[in-house]
Symmetry: C3
Subunit: 297 residues, 3 copies
């Protein structure tokens, strides 16, 4: 049993911890689909404190909690802004913890979730702290890979913005625990930071075409316009890291994306069996159920 | 059994479908009033996606779902705006359907609900798509008429803006299935559109006084200031389509209104037995319960 | 049994009524803490109508309702503003009461809650009406005093803004029922209004140091910058009514605050056994449970 109390960073979890969560998620799959009724969190309250909007993460936590019979209180969006202004985050947390059994926190300041877990007497789950961590995203990514491909000896291509993407950095650290070979596919200006490249991981620099031929999973991230000096430069670069149905004709690789996408993945991919990005969003529900059950029961 | 999966337009429903829903609503009346406990939707999740505010419709769906033991996840208002900006409606829907058993959609674009029902694998209920349809409003209007007057061989006056009111157009199409005689009471500039007038329905042009004397139901809609060249013109016209207590002294006609009212109905009407518009809002709850039970069970 | 239907003003309650609520709160303490499951409000709906943000009050009502198995529908913040604009408060209330069993109302207009209780056919709980009343705050203050000190023959210091603070005025009126000796500690410009000073209560003008030595409870309120001609004057005054750990070294007095604090209480107080202000926020939950049970069962 690898019981934990808070979930702040993927770095806090061992391979065993991760496997434990992913296998608990399996137990909740049919509940997440609405096929089985389970009320193990009845009477329990989750406080969603989102100081930045994050529709997918918030809604999927709500769905997870409510499908298990629990309930949710939300910080309203206008409230979040006024709360943030007039009162210290510490005070806000110390009040909200009086009303709930667990806090899911999204905050623009890096380190805020760790801070929250230190001052709160109830469990804190990090739902994104600025440039920091978003561990439940990483866990649902891993769960998707486990369900739709395989975790061990995986070959995975990371495509797009490898420099700034928090999601990518966390995923790499987690994959390192599972002996993955990681194909790096990115424009020169958005390469993986040196300190991650230096980790003891089997990295391969690659182009998109080769990667698609060789890997089990293609993980696509958005290339943001703001990273480029002008729109034309952006368009040129972004266009050459775009996945289309044609490119997947003879590939069995699954295509993942943390969403929202802009046009890194053409719409004609949606209908292919390769496309798992919406199912990936779904997997967030059983994974978050597993986490909630872990910290609340 | 006239089972349906989505509810997009009143035009999709036969007379038998409508009668089926209205008689299911009867079974939920006491639950809607909080007099009987029923948990038939326990564990089920409704996703409320309102890209425009619509307090009455949203709250009444929430009440219907929660009174039946189900739960609701809401798209926040700030989220709705950012969602709408950065991401296609299709992607937003395909993500949200992963978290719920049913979607209630309010969107400013006509046709959006039909579109949603085509791409989603869970039922979609249209809660208003721009100038298009708002079928649950029509169903609750019909239910109110059934409970407070009668549906067959009804005489009903439609008062106010008959040109632009979506509510009025849908109600007419539904009433056509029940052999209603429809009194049209509107200023010249806000008359019923030609294509509806040409339907095979018993229409009578009338003035407000005559209509009140002869009909069972007076359905009042708001005349909007924006439809008139100047404020004075508006005031003059709007004033002559205003219902007051005095006008109802010798009438048993019930007064309906989709709400919110501005001053089409004087406050002194509120206390009369004729006034059913707040009860009409209540009837939205059992009707929406019937629809939710229909698509979810 | 001192059953009541609405809760509008603390002035409506007798000492017996208050004692009754506080002792019911005791029965819910473990449920509020999440230690015992109780579903006595299952199927019941609370409508939260907040026309002004009030995170603490709203969330604590939600927690109270949901811990007891009931559910909540919230007026969204954008909706609140549009509701308030286009429609009379009366109409808004008459619609919302169709969807719920009980209304919690926060409105900027004094008297709005009383008005609501007169036109609604379901119970109304006042969650603050402008400069008027906020009775559930007063009740949770009294409950805190009862649990952490004692209600009878209490010595309490009221510190800070005694002139404008609604919280302080209501608390004084309630304490008058319990024979309290009240120490008044405030700058000259923020003294207690004459009409309250004239009540038959044992008032003592005091300074902060003496008060802390002699009382059982120190109730601190915020001194608002806007009350002063310039920032420097504010800083000087506010600074001399600030509680620090050092000042409490030889005191057993408990420190209360309705929150949010700015810096009336130094952070070094938080760790002392004297500090009860976060627990005070918690006590809002069992007290609101007691009130909800009272009006709904």
């Amino acid at each position: 049993m690898s019981k934990f109390r808070n979930l702040i960073s993927i770095d806090d979890l061992s391979r065993k911890d991760i496997e434990h969560i992913l296998s608990r998620a399996d137990e909740f799959l049919d509940v997440a689909r609405g096929e089985r009724k389970l009320r193990i969190l009845e009477g329990r309250i989750l406080a969603n404190l989102f100081f930045e909007p994050s529709t997918r993460t918030r809604m999927s936590f709500e769905s997870a909690m409510k499908r298990l019979g629990g309930d949710v209180i939300n910080l309203g969006s206008l409230e979040a802004s006024s709360f943030a202004k007039g009162e210290s985050l510490a005070d806000a947390l110390r009040v909200v913890e009086q009303y709930a059994d667990c806090i899911v926190l999204r905050h623009y300041r890096e380190g805020s979730a760790r801070f929250a877990s230190e001052i709160c007497s109830i469990p804190v789950i990090n739902a994104g702290d600025g440039a920091g961590q978003h561990p439940t995203q990483t866990l649902l990514d891993l769960y998707t890979i486990k369900k739709e491909a395989r975790l061990d000896n995986l070959k995975i291509a990371l495509v797009g913005d490898l420099k700034y993407s928090r999601t990518v950095h966390s995923l790499i650290k987690a994959l390192a625990l599972f002996n993955a070979r990681i194909y790096l596919v990115s424009p020169d200006s958005l390469k993986l930071p040196e300190e991650i490249l230096e980790m003891d991981i089997d990295f391969v620099e690659s182009d998109l075409k080769t990667a698609i031929e060789e890997v089990d999973v293609v993980y696509v991230t958005r290339i943001q316009k703001e990273r480029f000096p002008d729109e034309e430069e952006y368009r040129k670069v972004a266009g050459s890291y775009r996945i289309t149905a044609e490119m997947l004709e003879s590939s069995d690789a699954i295509i993942m994306h943390p969403l929202p996408r802009v046009d890194e993945i053409a719409y004609d991919v949606d209908g292919l069996k390769n496309a798992v990005y919406f199912r990936q969003a779904f997997y967030g529900v059983p994974v978050r159920m597993a986490i909630l059950a872990e910290v609340l029961l």
